[in-house]
C-alpha cells in the first residue's frame, strides 16, 4: 500500500514535469521560427560566425522586449558548408517545416540561384545576404529578397565617385564570375552615359588566383598608352588586396578604385601599405563613427556598434550589419502581418516594406524591386593610415 502511494506521488510529479512546457507555452505565445541556412563551415566560416553572433544577439534583444506581439523569435540554424547540395537540402527541410515562414541565407552568390528556385517552388520567403545578379533578377521570382546593395547601385555610386574625382578614363580589371562581370558591365554602361571612357580589360582573374602579376604586366602597357586616370579592381575577397599589392610592386601609381567588398578589415590587413589611397563606395556600417549628425540610420548603427563591442569585443562591420538588417526586416514584416502569420502573408508584408531604417540604409521593397536599398545608402570611403575614412564631395550626397 505504501509502495503504491509512493508510486502515485511519483507519477503525479512526473506528469506535472512533462506537462510543464505545454503549460508554460500556454502562458506565453508560440515562437515564430526563422530558418537560417549559412556557410558555417568551409571558406566562409569566419565571416558567417559574425553573422550568427549578430543574429543571436538581435533575436535575444527582440525577445527581451517581448517579441513580436508576445511571440518570441527562434532561430533554427543549419550549416550548408558552402556546398550546393547541402544548401538545397536545408532549404527543402525548412520548407517542409510548416512552422517556418522565412529562411535567411545563403551568404554567397553561387548558392542563391538554387535556394531561390526552391523558395519559388515551395512558396516560402527566402532572404539572401549577397547582392542579386542580373541573371536571377531576370527571373522575377516572387519569393526571394536580397538585402545587400545591388550591382546597379554600387556601379552608379562608383561612377559618381569618378565624376567627383574628375576621372575621364578608367580601366576595369574584372573577376571572372557573374557578379564581378555584371559590376564591370554596369560600370561601363553608367560611366559612358556620363562621358567617362571605360575600358574593360579582356584579362580577368579567378577568386583563387594568388598572384595577379602576369595579368597586370599585360595591362601595364594599356595603362601607360591610354594614360588612364583610375584603375578599377572589380572584384571581391582576397583578390582585391592582391591586385593592389601586385600593381604597386610593378611600379604603377594609378589611383585604384574598388567595389563595396573592399570594406572589410581583413582586406586592409592583407594588402598592407599598398592599400593606402584606395577609394570605393560601401555601406554606412564600414564607418559607424563618421556619419552625418542628421543621418537617419546613424542612431541605429551607433547603438548596434556599441552592443557588438560590449558583447563580442568587435565593432560593427558590413557583415554584422547585414545580419542585423535581416533580423529586423523579418521583425518588421511579422509585426505588419495581420492576425495569424502564414507564408503568403509574410511574403506580402515583406514586399510592402517601406522606408524601413536599418544598418545598411533605408529598405523599400516593391513587387518590381526585391533589392531594397538605393544608391544613397552607399558612402564614399578612402583607405588612409590603415583605416577606413569617409570622404565627401560637394554636390554628391
Amino acid at each position: 500500500m505504501k509502495v503504491f502511494r509512493k508510486c502515485a506521488v511519483l507519477t503525479m510529479v512526473a506528469a506535472l514535469l512533462l506537462a510543464w512546457p505545454i503549460l508554460a507555452q500556454a502562458a506565453g505565445k508560440a515562437p515564430y521560427k526563422i530558418g537560417v541556412n549559412l556557410e558555417l563551415t568551409g571558406p566562409w566560416a569566419e565571416v558567417t560566425k559574425t553573422v550568427k553572433q549578430a543574429m543571436t544577439m538581435e533575436v535575444e534583444r527582440i525577445n527581451a522586449q517581448g517579441g513580436v506581439d508576445g511571440h518570441p523569435l527562434e532561430l533554427v540554424i543549419e550549416d550548408n558548408g558552402f556546398d550546393l547540395g547541402r544548401a538545397a537540402v536545408n532549404m527543402i527541410k525548412f520548407a517542409r517545416n510548416k512552422e517556418i515562414p522565412v529562411v535567411l541565407g545563403p551568404w554567397e552568390d553561387p548558392l542563391q540561384a538554387t535556394t531561390r528556385a526552391i523558395a519559388e517552388r515551395e512558396q516560402i520567403t527566402n532572404i539572401i545576404f549577397c547582392p542579386s545578379n542580373p541573371m536571377v533578377r531576370g527571373l522575377k521570382q516572387r519569393w526571394s529578397f536580397n538585402i545587400a546593395q545591388s550591382d546597379i547601385n554600387v556601379s552608379q555610386r562608383l561612377v559618381e565617385l569618378c565624376l567627383a574625382r574628375g576621372y575621364k578614363k578608367v580601366l576595369v580589371f574584372p573577376g571572372n564570375w557573374p557578379l564581378a562581370l555584371s559590376l564591370a558591365e554596369y560600370f561601363k554602361q553608367f560611366g559612358e552615359e556620363k562621358g567617362i571612357k571605360v575600358i574593360v580589360s579582356r584579362e580577368t582573374h579567378k577568386p583563387t588566383d594568388i598572384d595577379m602579376t602576369p595579368q597586370l604586366i599585360k595591362l601595364k602597357p594599356i595603362i601607360e598608352r591610354e594614360k588612364v586616370d583610375a584603375f578599377y579592381a572589380c572584384t571581391g575577397g582576397p583578390p582585391g588586396p592582391i591586385i593592389v599589392k601586385n600593381l604597386r610592386a610593378l611600379g604603377i601609381k594609378t589611383p585604384v578604385i574598388g567595389t563595396h567588398a573592399f570594406g572589410f578589415g581583413f582586406i586592409i590587413a592583407l594588402g598592407g601599405a599598398a592599400m593606402e589611397g584606395v577609394e570605393f563606395a560601401a555601406g554606412k556600417s564600414v564607418v559607424p563613427d563618421q556619419l552625418d549628425e542628421n543621418d537617419p540610420v546613424r542612431p541605429i548603427i551607433i547603438d548596434f556598434d556599441k552592443r557588438m563591442r560590449a558583447r563580442y569585443g568587435q565593432g560593427l562591420d558590413q557583415i554584422a550589419g547585414h545580419a542585423h538588417d535581416a533580423i529586423w526586416l523579418v521583425y518588421d514584416a511579422l509585426k505588419r502581418c495581420q492576425g495569424k502569420v502564414t507564408r503568403a502573408q509574410f511574403r506580402d508584408a515583406l514586399e510592402a516594406t517601406k522606408g524601413f531604417k536599418a544598418c545598411h540604409g533605408i529598405y523599400t521593397y516593391s513587387p518590381t524591386d526585391h533589392d531594397g536599398l538605393s544608391k544613397e545608402d552607399l558612402v564614399f570611403i578612402r583607405i588612409e593610415g590603415g583605416k577606413f575614412k569617409r570622404i565627401m564631395f560637394p554636390g554628391f550626397k
Binding site: 604597386r248 592583407l270 601599405a273
Partner: protein
C-alpha cells in the same frame, strides 16, 4: 612596352613562382627517394609554414624572425609526427594505401588549421618593406629577391647536408641503394623519418617566404602541392636536380604563357604541360630513376 619587355617582366615573375614550386617539388622528391612514398601532405607543410608564422606574430606576439623560426620548427615536428603516426604504422602496406593515408593526413591538417586559426586569408609583411627594385625595364618586388636568395641558400644547405654530414650521407646511401644501406647498418625507417623532417622544413620555409608575396589560407596547400608535384614529374621524378629544374621551368612557362593566352587559363597551363610530358617524355627532362626508360 614591347613584347620583349613584356616577356622579360613575365619571366622575372615566373622565376619567383618557380623557386617556390622547386622547394615543394624537392620536398616530394626527398621523401620519395627515401621511401618511394608520394606524400600528398606536402602542400600542407607550405600552408602551415605561413599560417603558423602568422599565428606566432599576431596571436602570440613574437618578433618576425623568431616567429618564422618557430613556425619552421613546429612544421618539422608535424612532419616527424606525420611519419610516426601515419606512415610508419603502414610501412608494410602497399604504396597505394600509404598514398591514400597521406591524402587523408593532408585533409586533416588543412581542416585543423581552419578550426584553430580561422578561414580568413592571412598574410605576413614583406621582409624588407614594400620596396621594389628596377632592373633595366623590369621591376621586381624586394620579397621576390628574398625568395630567390633564400631558395639558393636552402639548396646549398641541402647539398652540404647530403654530401658533408653523416646523416646526409646515410640518407643518400639509403635512397641510392636501400639493400646496400641495410647491410651497412643504416636503419631505413630512421632515414625515412629524417626525410619527412627535411621535407617538412623545406615546405614550411617556402611557406614563410611566399606568404608576404601573396597570402595564405587553410586551403592554399592543395594547389601548391599539386603544382610542386607536377614540377617534380616534369623535371624527372625522383631526382633532386630534376625537381629544381622542373620547378623553375614550370614557374616560367606558366608566367610567360600569359603573354600569348588570357591569364584565366594560367593554372591550366601547368596541367597541359604535365599531360604533354606524360605523353612524350614520361621520365621527365632529366630522366627518372623510378621509370624504366627502355619501355618508352
Amino acid at each position: 612596352m614591347d613584347l620583349l619587355g613584356l616577356i622579360s617582366q613575365l619571366f622575372a615573375s615566373g622565376i619567383t613562382m618557380g623557386a617556390i614550386y622547386a622547394l615543394v617539388a624537392l620536398g616530394f622528391v626527398t621523401i620519395v627517394r627515401a621511401s618511394q612514398i608520394i606524400n600528398f601532405a606536402q602542400g600542407e607543410f607550405v600552408m602551415l609554414g605561413g599560417v603558423l608564422a602568422f599565428f606566432f606574430i599576431k596571436g602570440a606576439g613574437f618578433s618576425y624572425p623568431v616567429a618564422a623560426l618557430m613556425a619552421v620548427i613546429s612544421v618539422v615536428i608535424i612532419g616527424f609526427l606525420l611519419h610516426l603516426l601515419v606512415v610508419y604504422p603502414l610501412r608494410k602496406a602497399s604504396a597505394l594505401i600509404v598514398l591514400m593515408a597521406t591524402l587523408g593526413a593532408s585533409i586533416v591538417l588543412s581542416n585543423t588549421s581552419a578550426l584553430l586559426f580561422g578561414t580568413l586569408p592571412k598574410t605576413l609583411p614583406p621582409f624588407s618593406g614594400d620596396l621594389s627594385v628596377q632592373l633595366g625595364g623590369i621591376r621586381i618586388a624586394s620579397q621576390s629577391l628574398w625568395v630567390l636568395g633564400a631558395t639558393f641558400c636552402l639548396l646549398l644547405a641541402l647539398h652540404l647536408l647530403a654530401h658533408r654530414t653523416l646523416v646526409g650521407k646515410a640518407m643518400e646511401a639509403s635512397s641510392t641503394d636501400p639493400l646496400g644501406a641495410d647491410l651497412a647498418g643504416i636503419s631505413r625507417n630512421l632515414m625515412v623519418f629524417f626525410a619527412f623532417g627535411v621535407s617538412a622544413g623545406m615546405g614550411s620555409i617556402a611557406g614563410v617566404l611566399v606568404t608576404p608575396l601573396f597570402y595564405t589560407s587553410y586551403s592554399a596547400g592543395t594547389l601548391l602541392g599539386l603544382k610542386g608535384f607536377i614540377a617534380a614529374v616534369l623535371g624527372g621524378w625522383g631526382k633532386n636536380s630534376g625537381a629544381i629544374l622542373g620547378g623553375f621551368a614550370l614557374g616560367i612557362v606558366e608566367s610567360v604563357s600569359v603573354a600569348f593566352i588570357p591569364a584565366g587559363y594560367k593554372d591550366g597551363v601547368a596541367f597541359v604541360v604535365l599531360l604533354l610530358i606524360l605523353y612524350f617524355r614520361p621520365k621527365g627532362i632529366l630522366g627518372s630513376p623510378f621509370i624504366d626508360s627502355r619501355r618508352w
